[in-house]
């Protein structure tokens, strides 16, 4: 593991859906962050902020949904993922880059036994020993007990937490350098959620796998990640190491922080972020958070969406008035 070498570099990425006879629908614009080897990065943002789209760009399944990367570069170990063909994708997708899908309940194929699914994942990579033993090792790795029974079962016979463990096991079959977990705990109860998080943490510690954790739960990401990326309306608005993100430098992060249930005063009012995130394709000029911002100034409402300040790897914010935050 080489520290501070970029495994993944997302540079000014824009993602859109090309439409006939109408202009391209832009879903993501100005996504900027990087992932180092063995690093755990959390991406947070409301629904529709483009988190999942970025994942799909990294795993190469955007085209299936009719979308594509229309600007910027997605560099994986220096290789621009925009330029590679399907044959090359096959050597990356599910091998060097693993993926744990959004909903645990619908992730595994319902018509195949767990054994068959693990075998499918394992057959893509070389290994020693019988398929059965390798599958069992994988299930051990994700801490599933009664392995023999589980192998013969179908996904519908397993609980949500177990299904998600199986999906993580499948993703780990190829010992990927990067594991993308897209809201891996959606629909799971809180105890199972923390077990899954603990598992991801251990995987990263024991196998040195870099992990991108997507979530809408800032508290969760705060707890387990080294770096936090905050997305709003298709743009990265703040990026920084978890330690320095304790003092946010973008009003959106401030708002997210204050709407956390774990920091709310007992008996006090739960704070929410005012307004709704702007709809895709209906972005106003200037900062796309301006309408919902407490710190909004005249210059926020004109021109382009502000770019991230500073250099990559540092604490960056896309707010024109970052220095004023916390002082009002």
């Amino acid at each position: 593991m080489t520290p501070n070498v970029k495994l993944l570099d997302i540079n000014n990425v824009a993602i859109g859906i090309k439409r006939r006879k109408r202009e391209t629908l832009v879903i993501v614009r100005e996504a900027n962050f990087d992932v180092n080897y063995g690093e755990m990065v959390g991406i947070v943002g409301e629904s529709g902020s483009g988190k999942t789209m970025i994942c799909r760009a990294i795993i190469g399944t955007l085209e299936r949904r009719g979308a594509s990367v229309i600007g910027g570069e997605v560099l994986f170990e220096g290789l621009d993922l925009r330029t590679i063909n399907e044959a090359k994708w096959k050597t990356l997708r599910g091998k060097v880059i693993g993926y744990v899908p959004q909903s645990a309940l619908a992730g595994p194929n319902p018509v195949l036994t767990i054994e068959k699914q693990l075998a499918e994942a394992l057959s893509q990579v070389e290994g020693t020993g019988s398929m059965k033993n390798r599958s069992k090792e994988l299930l051990d790795l994700v801490k599933i007990r009664r392995v023999d029974t589980v192998m013969k079962q179908y996904p519908y016979q397993l609980s949500g937490g177990m299904r998600q463990r199986v999906m993580i096991a499948c993703a780990l079959a190829s010992k990927p350098k990067l594991l993308i977990a897209d809201e891996p705990t959606t629909g799971l109860d809180v105890t199972v959620q923390s077990q899954i998080m603990e598992l991801l943490r251990e995987i990263r510690r024991d196998l040195g796998t870099a992990i991108i954790l997507i979530s809408h739960d800032l508290a969760l990401v705060d707890e387990v990640c080294d770096k936090i990326v905050v997305m709003h309306a298709g743009a990265t608005v703040e990026v920084g190491p978890t330690s320095s993100m304790a003092t946010p430098r973008h009003p959106y992060t401030v708002a997210l922080n204050s709407s956390r249930i774990d920091v709310a005063k007992p008996g006090g009012e739960l704070l929410t972020i005012k307004g709704n995130p702007p709809s895709v394709g209906q972005w106003n000029p200037g900062c796309r958070f301006a309408e919902r911002c407490d710190y909004v100034q005249q210059d926020c409402l004109v021109g382009e969406h502000p770019a991230l300040s500073g250099n990559k790897g540092e604490h960056q914010s896309a707010c024109l008035h970052a220095d004023k935050i916390g002082k009002i």
Partner: protein
């Protein structure tokens, strides 16, 4: 195997551990299968009972129909006694019921033929038409539904919906007559009448009725399959398949068709049941010696034995095929419950 050389204890332990695990799936499957079988028997009994009683309670006296209006009272009484019609309803049913178990379905009042003989002669024709129609319909529907679902072009979906609606709206008898006119007279690809029972040679009589049936079957099957496929396509696990990089064939089968096929399979099994009664139109138009024609004839003459025999056979076939359909659906996709 390599590991066994290093650690000879490990494989033995693995085998014993496996034997200890009770295969819950298999036990549950056996139990439900047994339950379904018992239920099918019960349904079959009721089908038999209803077929038997419907005719007894419907107006019209088969004996007088058979003997004509100028028959003497003695002749009527004699014949009633011969066929056991002078006895009470339940005695008649008991005799019939026990007869069925010894393979005796009774004898026709008119032609004096054994019912089993009639069924054995005419049922294969009808089954052959159904088998051909359904087989062709399934083979045609799957690629159509799959390609429409995968194309994602609105134009193609629109065309698919329109053409299937049109095809479904044309009555079968009209298409049959049109087909006969075209393939029977303009070009003589279909013999205008007659029938040969042996397998390869009967195809030249049966292909046109099967094709006509397809015009109503393919729209139904392909639309049901198309909508299941669209549901499947929206599911997250399809993405998992893409990411796992499974081969093309495996992807189409395990990630697209197999999770989508269950409703279609169950539908096919029920449609076989519907068709067994509906094929009579085709049998009439193409003058095929199917069992539907026999049934119609027997009903019009109140030929009790023939009618109840054929209706019972129909019922058994429906019970059997729907059972097979449910079972196949379950084997394809375990989310389907076999209650």
């Amino acid at each position: 195997m390599a590991s066994s050389a290093i650690n000879p204890g490990a494989p033995a332990e693995e085998i014993s551990a496996e034997q200890k695990v009770p295969d819950k799936n298999r036990i549950a499957l056996r139990r439900t299968l047994f339950g379904r079988f018992i239920r099918s028997l019960v349904v079959a009994f009721w089908v038999m009972f209803i077929a038997f009683s419907l005719l007894r309670f419907s107006p019209g006296d088969p004996i007088r129909l058979a003997l004509g209006t100028d028959a003497t009272e003695e002749a009527v009484a004699e014949m009633k006694q011969k066929y056991g019609l002078d006895q009470s309803f339940f005695v008649q049913f008991y005799d019939y019921f026990t007869g069925v178990f010894s393979g005796d379905l009774g004898t026709s009042f008119f032609s004096q033929r054994e019912v089993t003989e009639v069924v054995a002669m005419h049922l294969p024709v009808t089954l052959m038409i159904i088998l051909l129609s359904m087989g062709a319909a399934v083979i045609i529907s799957i690629p159509i539904a799959l390609s429409v679902a995968l194309s994602r072009r609105p134009v193609i979906t629109y065309f698919f919906r329109t053409s299937t609606s049109i095809s479904l709206a044309i009555p079968g008898f009209f298409l049959a007559l049109l087909g006969l006119l075209l393939f029977g007279t303009v070009v003589t690809w279909v013999p205008a009448a007659g029938y040969e029972g042996n397998f390869p040679s009967n195809l030249k009589y049966l292909w046109l009725p099967a094709l006509v049936n397809c015009f109503s079957l393919v729209p139904i099957l392909s639309r049901v399959l198309h909508s299941s496929l669209m549901d499947t396509l929206g599911e997250e696990f399809v993405e998992t398949g893409v990411i796992r990089g499974v081969g093309k064939l495996k992807f189409y089968w395990s990630y697209m068709l197999r999770p989508s096929l269950a409703p279609t399979v169950v539908l096919v099994s029920y449609m076989v049941g519907i068709m067994i009664g509906g094929t009579v139109v085709m049998e009439m138009i193409f003058s095929l010696p199917g069992i539907g024609r026999e049934l119609i004839e027997a009903v019009s003459t109140r030929d009790y034995a023939i009618v109840q025999g054929i209706v019972m056979i129909f019922g058994l076939i429906v019970v059997f095929t729907s059972f097979i359909g449910d079972l196949l659906g379950y084997l394809l996709d375990r989310r389907v419950t076999l209650s």
